[in-house]
Symmetry: C2
Subunit: 213 residues, 2 copies
């Protein structure tokens, strides 16, 4: 009974974690799993697991638990992993290549349909899969031709906004931004930021805090 209800973002993050643990459980031959076990594997509270799932339906059997295969299928549907998503990468340095070659992404249906750069040293370089690194100028047309729905920015901070604008022009309205800067986009565009510097800052802060204690 998927009620129209505000679902915490953290719930989505956890669904992704549940999904991965369930894959491992299935691989290990488990048929059923309790919220307690799944919670233990994810290092969280069992009630949290049940509440998270409760936002989307009733997937369990009282007194027994959850069917591993069935729950996998349900979460797959919720996260819309039951289809492929094409993404394009702008900035083919080491980070761009790391994303391109990331096995788990491809395995979940996230396919890199095109890779872009503005450096003439890189444009034309062959990629696994028979394609080549394209000129960033081709971004807009490639988005349309290849049905790219997600843009990944792995450029230096100085180019991030320009690239974001290009993605927007091509009506890509989901961006994963690795550049250590904030990009400005209209409300219609989703942005997730992954900023290594910020995470390192957090570690440094906590480390010092721990040392002081």
């Amino acid at each position: 009974m998927t009620k129209t209800q505000k679902i915490p973002k953290a719930t989505i993050t956890r669904l992704s974690m549940y999904y991965r643990q369930l894959e491992l459980l299935e691989f290990d031959g488990y048929r059923m799993v309790s919220s307690e076990k799944l919670a233990w594997l994810c290092q969280i509270n069992p009630a949290q697991v049940r509440k998270d799932l409760g936002y989307f339906g009733e997937f369990g059997v009282r007194g027994v638990g959850y069917d591993v295969i069935d729950l996998l299928a349900q979460i797959k549907k919720i996260l819309s992993l039951n289809r492929d998503w094409n993404f394009g990468i702008a900035g083919m340095g080491n980070l761009g290549c790391a994303i391109l070659l990331h096995r788990n992404l491809a395995l979940r249906g996230f396919k890199c349909a095109a890779a872009f750069d503005n450096s003439h040293d890189r444009i034309g370089m062959p990629l696994p899969g028979g394609t080549k690194i394209r000129d960033i100028k081709e971004l807009k047309t490639a988005i349309r031709d290849l049905n790219i729905e997600i843009g990944v920015i792995t450029t230096p901070a100085s180019s991030a906004q320009k690239v974001a604008d290009l993605f927007l022009e091509g009506h890509v309205n989901a961006i994963l931004n690795f550049a250590p800067t904030r990009i400005n986009v209209p409300d219609c565009c989703l942005v997730e930021n992954i900023d290594f510097t910020v995470i390192m800052d957090i570690l440094a802060y906590k480390l010092r805090e721990k040392m002081a204690a």
Copy 2:
């Protein structure tokens, strides 16, 4: 008046954002900044800025705002960016190299003191700065010799736990884990996870949600 008080993790994340915006403001020649302006730059609420700073002291001047240079210095101290931190990377694929060469990290005082791998093709490869990729077997001794306090895991999921255990043996108790798996560590060890797959899952979920609307 740094009261002993629970400080939200989100506050630390934002301090890191403030820091970066302040650097840009300083570069652009600004002397003072109001919580309103800083909040606008970070796309958040002005009261949030004041509350975040309020956890650590009184840095502003009523009726005027905050001195850009002074606030930079204060946040630098809070985040303990007023010193260098040595980190070691395990797994020198594209992602490992991306971290190694990340300009902003070095600029903030996060120095890669050593890089490790277990592949004989990579061990011994020269790195910028005169060092080489080391055998992962040397991890423990290198940690001690090079004063490494932060471990970065950029291996495949299958090796992540093994590497984490090696870091722990060497008494590194802060880990940045990029492997798409959960690592188990004792309470004394801080872990931050960056999981590309999870973030992509979130984007896919939100995209589909938006399409449905």
